[in-house]
Amino acid sequence: MSRDDRLAQLLQECVAAYETGLSPEECLSAFAADRTALEPLFRQALSLRFAFASAPAEEFIRRTKERLLFAAGHEVSAAFALEPAPEFTARARHKLVQTAGATAREALRAVPPPRLPFWVNARRRLLEAAALGARPAVRPMALALRAGFSAAVVVLAIAATGLAYVVLQSGTPAIADELDILIEETNVVQQKLDAGEDVAVTVIVNLTERTNDLVQKLGDDVSPPDSEKLQDLIQQQEEIVEQVSGDEPAPELAEAKQNLDEASEKVTALALADSSPTATPEASAEPSAAVAGSPAATTPQPAPTTFVLLADQIYFSAEPGDATAGLTWRRAKTLGVSFVLPGSWKASGLAINLDGVLPYDVDTLRVDGPDGEADVTLLINLKNGAITALSGGEQIRARRGGVLGEIISQAELTTKLGSAGAVVYHIAASMEVALPPTPTPEPAPTETPATP
């Protein structure tokens, strides 16, 4: 060991002894043989120790230790893993209940479990169904209950619709509504038969009877409904009758077949009439003659199943789908123009709220608003569709003549006519003017309506 090595070793031991509490003199005395060489090194070492003997602040030591332990994660996990003592939980709950009162007591009494989202159950059921692979086994009791409920539903549906039918019969039910009821009832019966359930014959007979009654009413005082619906309904009922007839059909089914035959015949006739509104001139001889001699008649003649609208004739019909301004509207049609009018308005003394054909002998039809409701008079040109409104001494051109006649704005009409402006605007907007007539064969002299 060299001298420097030995001095370094002695220095380390001397400093260690000093750290244990010995004074510098005591430390040096322990190494008396090497004191001369050791003392300057030892004193300088002590000076260096003093020079760097600064201790960190207590606050720094504490903070750094906290961060170190926090980084270690054990305190965090330990903190979150702690659970309150049961006594504390019970005491806190009791205190909360006492503080919050009855409301909190009620709320804490029974907390329902959280409701699962619907798709969780749906997903579970879907997966269960997929796992099963096949349809669930048939359970006799469930099947019986299901059949019972189905029959009950059918009976209730028929009863409800029947009740609705009776109620509607007492008033003036719309043909379309009655038709819809019959279609719905027929569908219920069809579904029941498809499911293998029995349907009483009387129910089927009742359906066919009511269907026939509905069809027979058409053409009397109501406008024909959609003929296609009627034809489909009759055909469906015929299939039902065939389905329940079997080898030995019940006697009541003969009545059902007869009802359907009558209804089918009537619907076919109506369809033919509807598909040929401009029939040959020969076909209109009788109705034309009926009105030819009564130009001033105020009662419209019933519209025949087939007729030809001649010049100087005006045809009024219902416009059931129109409820503009809360009014009931009628459509007036001539060979040249077609437009709607409120049923409550008066057209030159004609009763426009009844269906039928009326003769007219003027080019301009005067229509007056109801007294006290609309102080408006309309002059409607039945040739070119021009409409002029007279109100308070003022003359307003609501629509110019022609196929594409200009219509005044509704706002301007409302400004000038008040609430009647919307009605006049609707009349003007509904105006349809026929294209310039193409050469038509001259009707026979006997078929030309006489003019007064």
Binding site: L48, P56, H74
Partner: protein, 201 residues
Amino acid sequence: MTNSFSQTAGGPDWEPQRQIVEAAQAGDLEALGALYDNHINQVYRYSLARLGNIHDAEDVAEEIFLKMLAGLPGYQWRKVPFAAWLMRIAHNEVISFTRRNGKRARDTDLPDEIVDRGNDDPAEATERLLAIEDLRRAVVLLPEAQRDVIILRFAAGLSVADTARTLGKQENNVKVLQHKGMQRLQVLMTPKYPELARRQQ
């Protein structure tokens, strides 16, 4: 606080320290806290001596212990004593901090605990305090290798062996560097404090 001056791996005095380290490695919080308590002064003094700034020393010391925590699972007692391993982290962290932040202003005031240490003679105490402050400045003027050894030996309190392990040097090399460093400090301090130098001689 544990005396760090005679740390040598494998000695019988180090069995408690070894148990603490192994317990800390197993996740024992108290053991980790004990490790911190045993080495915070050592780390802090080393950082302060190297950086000369209390705030920087605190920041670096904190970072050193976090690095210690991260490296603790991989530490093996047989290869290097814990103090040497920890001071190697400190040494690297100080170098990294200096590289990132450059050389910053050093505190001129001595810590209170140093000021309070003195004898009853105010004049002599003042002279000694000034001498200590100049000694700190003189250490900074040492060559880097000598400075590292001096600081590790007398600020951190490591033994020659642990200083050698910390710096990756031979023990003899550390002894030579220490001896040269102390001689140079005497040279630096003698013109200013001849009386002090005379007493030391």
